[in-house]
């Protein structure tokens, strides 16, 4: 059993990175996630594990440092919050185009523009639909607790290297800033040069050995016919993720007449809303997508013979609800309830929205 501590979500991201054998963190401060880099600077991982931590001059530089580090077959990461992730979009699409593994953490705040520093879930589209230019997808994991902030760091690296695709932890200022009990992961050593050669030798730019073809980390191919073939390959990879990597949680769904679909902080709020609703005799359950891409489309579809209506609860003006509607294909009513701009919905508001939309109250 690992160490049990009371920690902030952001601090846990940093601690989990050190413990999972991360080689490098490259970031730029932005509220509400600056504790990630601050914790790393305090912890001095370069003395403990050799992990490199660099405060870059901008988000643009930080993500491109990630691109350089990822090209070397190293476990590298960055973190930011909404406006910073927009700046990183350039590097993220290059990472996807060069098929490189990397961990990106977005502790979302309300927008658009500079917006607010309070929590929101209004970067869902940006995270799951691409965000930068070109047809690409990220693996997107949405923690709903400080424990999952810990667990998803290692999982993100694992999936990222498995599919040679960047992975994002999409969290928000609530989970980043709140303190909870967490069981930390055990320390794993960083990969040695020999292990990197074994795992990533076909693509990592570690210096061309004699008799081996040089490795080029690039997303450029001026030949459109080749680009189309490459895009087919990417799409096949995303389909494989949809087949194999969907993660979700169902709460109180067995006898549910109605269903909440919510992720992250909203899912925590929905759990309380379920208690309130059930005390009133309304049988409602929760389906919590853990992977936002690949999305638990099939798992929502499996509920359609059972439930009379679905409420998508998000701290946005209605983003994930589109994916719920795509899954449902009009078979039952799907409605959205959201507060946004940094306002966190209350469980009572959620129950009220359920009643108004489906129970005629």
């Amino acid at each position: 059993m690992g160490d049990i501590r009371l920690m902030k979500g952001n601090e846990v991201i940093a601690e989990a990175a050190i413990r999972c054998g991360c080689d490098g963190y490259f970031g730029y401060p932005i509220t509400p996630q600056s504790e990630i880099m601050e914790t790393l600077m305090i912890r001095r991982p370069e003395q403990e594990t050799g992990m490199v931590v660099v405060q870059a001059e901008s988000e643009v530089a930080a993500i491109n440092m990630v691109y350089g580090g990822a090209s070397c077959g190293k476990k590298v990461m960055t973190s930011s919050s909404s406006p910073g992730i927009s700046l990183k979009a350039e590097g993220i699409t290059y990472l996807a185009g060069a098929e490189l593994p990397a961990l990106l953490v977005n502790i979302v705040r309300g927008g658009p523009g500079l917006g607010t520093i309070q929590p929101a879930q209004s970067d869902y589209f940006q995270a799951v639909k691409g965000g930068g230019h070109g047809d690409y997808k990220l693996i997107v994991l949405a923690p709903a607790s400080v424990q999952e902030m810990n667990d998803f760091v290692d999982l993100s690296f694992e999936l990222s290297f498995k599919y040679l695709n960047p992975a994002m932890i999409l969290s928000d200022g609530v989970i980043g800033q709140m303190m909870e009990k967490v069981e930390l992961s055990d320390f794993k050593p960083r990969w040695t040069a020999e292990e990197i050669e074994k795992i990533s030798g076909s693509w990592a730019t570690t210096g061309k050995k004699k008799g081996i073809k040089r490795r080029i980390s690039t997303s450029l191919d001026l030949d459109s016919a080749k680009q189309e073939v490459f895009n087919h390959k990417l799409q096949a990879k995303y389909r494989a993720m949809e087949e194999n990597e969907v993660r979700f949680e169902k709460i109180d769904c067995d006898d549910a007449d109605y269903l909440f679909v919510a992720y992250g902080s909203s899912a925590r709020i929905c759990q309380k809303a379920i208690e309130i609703a059930r005390a009133k005799g309304i049988k409602v359950g929760l389906l919590r997508p853990i992977t936002l891409f690949p999305y638990p489309t099939k798992q929502i579809q499996e509920m359609l013979g059972q439930v009379k209506g679905i409420l998508s609860v998000e701290m946005s003006a209605g983003q994930m609800v589109e994916d719920v509607r795509l899954a449902v294909e009009g078979k039952v009513p799907v409605e959205h309830f959201g507060r946004y701009g940094g306002i966190i919905p209350t469980p009572d508001e959620v129950v009220e929205a359920l009643e108004q939309n489906f129970l005629g109250e």
Binding site: S58, K208, K209
Partner: protein, 257 residues
């Protein structure tokens, strides 16, 4: 002895004075006739061979004409987004400090869109080599104005000649980076004559030696030509460069610590 027999006797290993470096690949070059990139590539490749560091060298290519630099030098390469090569090189050298890491960037890439990344990599004194090819124009996009375009120089986006009152002044990047404590070696070279190429190779060798000794950032600007962008023949380009570019961008070492 027939002429053929005589020639066969001359072409022998002991008489060999020059050969193509194996670091340079046999791919057909995409650069325009008269372009300086080819000569610079060869100079870098020959130094890599001379220093026997091919297995330890990682290049970072830019966006612009030399985006395809990775097709010519037989080493591992990373292809950066526009202007971001110093950021990639920063992470690469930090994570693999025993390697020789260099960026290869044009004036649009380094002096314009990538101005922040190069200044900060220089200021941090990253243990890398930067090759900055300055031909005062955007080649790949068809000859538009660059930050280094000379006053009065005609380009596609300064069709009446660069007006410094509205477009700012040609940026002397080497002078700027030489002021930063993080840079160790800053020099401005050219490659239009055999003598210039010899000097350039000497500078390249010194820069990689600095990396070997972990001395920090070496910055080599190479003033070059763009015959297509300048709308001149290769010979005219060299003359124009000497007459106009060299006075504003004087050759020589600015810093060597």
């Amino acid at each position: 002895m027939t002429a053929t027999t005589e020639l066969k006797n001359i072409i022998s290993e002991e008489n060999k004075v020059y050969g193509k470096t194996s670091v340079l690949l046999d791919n057909e070059m995409h650069y325009c006739p008269g372009c300086t990139h080819g000569v610079i590539h060869k100079a870098i490749a020959e130094v890599i061979e001379d220093m026997d560091i091919q297995e330890e060298t990682i290049g970072v290519s830019p966006v612009g004409c030399s985006v395809l630099a990775y097709n010519y030098l037989d080493i591992d390469w990373q292809q950066a987004a526009h202007g971001r090569a110093p950021a990639l090189a920063t992470a690469t050298t930090r994570l693999m400090p025993e390697k020789y890491v260099f960026t290869y960037q044009g004036d649009g890439d380094l002096a314009s869109i990538g101005c922040a990344e190069i200044m900060h990599a220089c200021n941090r004194g990253e243990n890398i080599v930067v090759f900055f090819v300055n031909n005062g124009i955007y080649g790949m996009t068809g000859g538009q104005m660059a930050p280094t375009t000379l006053e009065g120089q005609v380009t596609a986006t300064s069709p009446y000649g660069r007006d410094c009152q509205t477009t700012g002044f040609p940026m002397k990047i080497s002078e700027m980076v030489s002021l930063l404590p993080g840079t160790r070696y800053v020099t401005r070279e050219s490659a239009e004559t055999a003598g210039a190429v010899r000097k350039l190779k000497k500078a390249v060798k010194k820069a990689f030696a600095n990396t070997r000794e972990n001395k920090g950032l070496s910055f080599i600007e190479i003033v070059g030509t763009c015959s297509s962008g300048w709308k001149q023949t290769p010979v005219q380009s060299n003359e124009w460069m000497k007459e106009h570019m060299f006075p504003y961008y004087p050759l020589g070492t600015l810093k060597d610590e």
